[in-house]
């Protein structure tokens, strides 16, 4: 009787118990390194910066994380990650304030907030809109973080089986997804992506080590430094664009001053449960798709919530359900974004592209091996996200009249702060004037891209993923020629999805234009086509 136990059940039980112990150990390890006073201070710093960044329209979370990456590079990797991730999370709370009070999203993630948040504010419910939005955002964040903790390691485990054909297909997939959602600018997105891939070829060849495109400049032997490129494209370019278009007598929009009721009552809480669920579900799925951010997730969830709501007529006129669904969804994407970024090495959105740049400088290579080698990192990241969420929610629930005053601050002050931070932050990476010059040049390149409709996201993604794409493509071709891709079902599926990401948006655009034209006709209006 004892023998079967010894040979069958007992080893299985022992194996299961030891796996549970390893998991518990990883969770404890991951959480304990975050729960140190110095890391908590950095999380608090990131929260303050993120809330402010979100509150100022024109300063995006990507720009803030790019600027912050300049000075976090001198920190310990986990502390730096704590600052950058917390800025990202807190910006998702702060950006709701201008969306609700002046109908202008603080960052793209709060586009859907304007649909119902501003109408609510006009109806005297600004305070209620802000607190409900904060609860929805916090719920979305927690939901996304739980998914990160549950699925990041299994996804990384699957991706560890990938060879060169699959890895090349994965890079193509990531790039095309980012291009596919570049507001319909497919061709320009492709050109921007190729420009980024070209920048990545500067320096030494990843296989033979030969020098390419260095133009005799010693500093370029190691390649184009990507943090200065990121700061130039995302930080400097946006300020320069605002500077050249700003008029002397331009009036600042006045925020709505009357906040009205602040805390939601029990009936309101019951009413927002369903849209919270819709938002969390939508955002989690959308967040797993590389390069699709909170802006798109918010709009999709708003639409989904409307479809299942009994009060469809309220949507767009100040629906608390529409507001909750959009805001829950846009933050729920963060868990998925972090998962794809860390587990696959493919940035979930442009903030994550910047984050990858910083991690590579710290010597951490996001990708399938990362979580396999250090599973406790998943739980450290989850813990950072949870603490950042709780802090951001707490700050959002404090009734602050000063937030309204903040929106009246002139843009010119922000320009000066961003310009000086761009310069000093870039210099501090390597104490190099060359890096600052690269940043200034890339700022001008970014300005050109902004003025002529090239999205900068694919360029940064191309720069970061370029060496991975080139080396895996060449290894595949040297090993088995183009036929090697035909022998890989995973690569074929990824290529098929990539092709769909490039073909479907133009078709959707045609359909949307036709619908818009039909809607115009129905109202007896003529659609003006100059």
């Amino acid at each position: 009787m004892i023998e079967p136990l010894m040979t069958g059940m007992l080893p299985d039980l022992f194996h299961a118990a030891s796996s549970q112990l390893v998991l518990a150990n990883s969770v404890l390890d991951g959480a304990s390194v975050v729960l140190r006073w110095d890391t908590l201070i950095y999380i608090g710093l990131g929260m303050l910066v993120g809330m402010l960044v979100g509150a100022f329209p024109g300063v995006t979370a990507t720009m803030a994380v790019a600027l912050a990456s300049g000075f976090t590079l001198t920190m310990e990797p986990l502390q730096g990650l704590a600052v950058l991730l917390t800025i990202y999370v807190a910006a998702q709370f702060g950006d709701r304030v201008p969306a609700i009070l002046i109908n202008t999203p603080g960052t793209p993630s709060s586009i859907s907030t304007t649909f119902d948040g501003y109408p609510m504010a006009k109806n005297g419910q600004a305070g209620l809109a802000m607190t409900v939005s904060a609860f929805g955002s916090a719920f979305g964040m927690v939901f996304g973080t739980i998914l990160l903790a549950l699925f990041a390691i299994p996804i990384a485990g699957l991706a560890r089986e990938f060879g060169p054909p699959e890895l090349f297909a994965l890079v193509v997939f990531g790039l095309t997804m980012m291009i596919g959602v570049s507001s319909g600018r497919i061709t320009k997105g492709l050109i921007a992506g190729m420009f980024g891939l070209f920048l990545a070829t500067v320096g030494r060849d990843p296989i033979t080590g030969d020098q390419r495109f260095t133009l005799g400049i010693l500093e370029l032997n190691g390649g184009v430094p990507f943090i200065p490129v990121i700061i130039g494209l995302f930080g400097l370019a946006e300020v320069l664009n605002q500077m050249i278009t700003h008029r002397r007598n331009e009036k600042q929009i006045k925020p709505i001053q009357q906040l009205g009721r602040w805390f939601p009552d029990g009936a309101t809480f019951r009413r927002i449960l369903k849209p919270m669920g819709v938002g969390a579900g939508t955002g989690s799925v959308v967040g797993l798709v590389p390069a699709v951010g909170g802006d798109i997730a918010g709009i999709i969830a708003w639409d989904n919530a409307k479809r299942v709501s009994k009060n469809k007529h309220e949507f767009g006129k100040g629906s608390i359900e529409g507001l909750t669904a959009g805001d829950t969804s846009s933050t729920a994407t963060i868990g998925g974004s972090v998962t794809t970024t860390m587990a696959l090495g493919i940035p979930g959105d442009s903030v994550m592209a910047v984050l990858i740049g910083s991690m590579m400088i710290w010597g951490i290579q996001p990708g399938p091996a990362l979580f396999a080698n250090d599973p406790s990192l998943v739980y450290s990241l989850a813990m950072i996200l949870l603490i950042a969420t709780v802090l951001s929610l707490a700050v959002s629930l404090v009734r602050m009249k000063s937030m309204v005053k903040l929106l009246e601050l002139k843009n010119q002050y922000l320009w000066v702060i961003i310009l000086v931070f761009c310069i000093v932050g870039t210099f501090s990476i390597n104490n190099s004037v060359f890096d600052v010059m690269v940043m200034l040049i890339m700022g001008l390149v970014g300005l050109f891209m902004l003025r002529f409709g090239f999205p900068p996201g694919p360029a940064v993604l191309g720069l970061i993923l370029g060496p991975l794409a080139e080396s895996n493509l060449r290894r595949t071709l040297i090993g088995g020629g183009w036929e090697a891709f035909l022998g890989s079902p995973i690569a074929l599926v990824l290529f098929a999805i990539s092709a769909a990401a490039l073909i479907l948006p133009p078709l959707r655009a045609m359909r949307a234009r036709r619908k818009a034209a039909m809607a115009g006709k129905d109202e007896g209006m003529s659609v003006l086509i100059p």
Binding site: V181, I191, T245, I296, V420, F427, A512, A516
Partner: protein, 187 residues
């Protein structure tokens, strides 16, 4: 993903939010893809600049690829990937002619107008910033930061002792504390 929130927002803060139509959701009607293409000739001719940029970079890369000093000049050597990228950029430039120059431009792709005052501000800001960088390690960091900040604030039209004195001192002090005291950057 939208990189600039300005592209996708409703610009007029007082504009009422339109209720959605049956069959065409509000999100679709607001989406830039739903807007009709602009077919004015100046807008379409303006698109020749990005075409020229894409084709120009592509040709330059092709020329420079020929100059790579490589040990292995085989088919899959160091020239393979840049050549592939450059060719694709030239093809995409051609595709832009078909889509944007011949068909029309999306309204979201037309940027806000530049002003001469804005361009002057950009050029002077560039000069101030380059001067600021070159003075690192020459003068005290806090001193040049306060001076550069005050110059930029004045350039952008802000006046008064708070803007020209207090604000630069705060920026100088914060940067000094953050970068020199806490992060130990040798500035």
């Amino acid at each position: 993903m939208t990189d600039s929130p300005r592209e996708s927002v409703v610009r007029d803060a007082d504009a009422d939010v339109a209720p959605s139509e049956e069959g065409a959701t509000l999100a679709e009607l607001r989406h830039p893809e739903a807007e009709p293409l602009l077919k004015n000739l100046p807008y379409r001719l303006r698109e020749l600049i990005p075409v020229a940029a894409a084709v120009g970079v592509g040709i330059w890369v092709l020329v420079m690829t020929g100059n790579i000093q490589a040990h292995n000049r085989g088919e899959l050597g160091p020239q393979f990937w840049p050549t592939m990228l450059a060719t694709a950029m030239i093809v995409m430039g051609g595709l832009l002619i078909l889509t944007n120059v011949m068909r029309g431009v999306r309204p979201a792709d037309i940027p806000d107008h530049m002003t001469w005052w804005g361009i002057s501000r950009l050029l002077i800001s560039g000069a101030v910033l380059v001067g600021y960088v070159l003075l690192f390690n020459v003068l005290q960091f806090w001193l040049i930061t306060i001076a550069a900040t005050a110059l930029l604030v004045a350039l952008y039209g802000l006046r008064g002792w708070r803007a020209l004195v207090v604000f630069p001192i705060i920026i100088g002090a914060v940067l000094h504390l953050l970068f020199i005291t806490f992060l130990g950057v040798p500035l």
